[in-house]
């Protein structure tokens, strides 16, 4: 059952990601991107990371994609100019290199039998406290400093975006 869900969601995610690249209009790319993010959220659920799946839908499919669609609507995007020969050669070389990368990663990385450790988050702990409670316990103790740094980064990002986009008088 899990395998069927995984194959369907993964397949749809891969097809949607391909359509992001091949879609003619930028807006269509953005909409395929939303579908791809939803499928990734379902894969997170299959991996028992429900909290992350909610964040994926809210932050990625909600906030970031809304940003991108806003930007597309504000810019008047015409078709890309026809590619020159030099860029076509670089495309062929680039895609060839990526195929080699894919084969390497799948043959060596995925099929290799990796050793696993028994970490602190056992199924019993999760069953007792619930996933979100366990996550928040770790987030506000071991990961408190990165958490605060992330909040500072987000504030700096917002201020930077406003300063950049402000029209000069």
């Amino acid at each position: 059952m899990e395998l069927v869900f995984l194959l369907i969601c993964g397949g749809v995610a891969v097809i949607a990601s391909l359509l992001v690249i091949f879609a003619r209009s930028t807006l269509h790319s953005a909409l395929w991107m939303v579908l791809s993010f939803f499928m990734v959220a379902i894969i997170y659920v299959l991996l028992h990371a429900q909290f992350l799946a909610m964040l994926q839908v809210i932050v990625y499919a909600g906030a970031i994609m809304m940003f991108i669609v806003y930007a597309i609507m504000m810019l008047n995007l015409r078709q890309e100019a026809k590619s020159k020969v030099a860029t076509r050669i670089s495309k062929v070389v680039g895609v060839g290199a990526l195929i080699v990368l894919f084969l390497e990663l799948t043959l060596i990385g995925v099929s290799h039998n990796m050793a696993t450790i028994q970490g602190p988050v056992t199924d019993k702990l999760v069953a007792t406290y619930g996933r979100v409670a366990v996550i928040s316990n770790f987030l506000f103790s071991d990961y408190l400093l990165p958490f605060e740094v992330a909040s500072i980064l987000l504030t700096a990002g917002v201020v930077g975006a406003v300063v950049l986009a402000k029209r000069e008088k």
Binding site: I43, Y60, I64, F102, G109, G119, P120, L153, G157
Partner: protein, 101 residues
């Protein structure tokens, strides 16, 4: 070890390579930006898979911070695209050669 671990990892690799191919081949800055997000999604799936395999939350926190960085990156990046569009009239990446010599 998770059930179907190699399938999860294969999907992660496929998404990463699709994103990288798009980032190389497309020249529309916003599409390239979205392709980078696809690469991040692929890496995130790998992180969560290993996090589950090792009974650890470290991978999940890594994805959490990837999301925070991606949100900040989206805000600043799209503001830069807006600025370049205002100055140049397009967001074709081939025309962004201000820092190239």
């Amino acid at each position: 070890m998770v059930d179907n671990q190699s399938i999860y990892l294969t999907f992660a690799v496929i998404l990463f390579v699709i994103g990288a191919a798009g980032a190389i081949c497309r020249r529309n800055a916003i599409v390239v930006f979205m392709c980078i997000e696809i690469m991040l999604a692929g890496v995130s799936i790998a992180f969560v898979t290993f996090s589950r395999a090792n009974h650890s939350l470290d991978g999940i926190f890594m994805v959490l911070f990837v999301m925070a960085v991606a949100a900040a990156e989206a805000a600043v990046g799209l503001a830069i695209f807006l600025l370049m569009y205002r100055k140049q009239g397009s967001i074709d990446l081939d025309k962004f050669n201000l820092l190239k010599w």
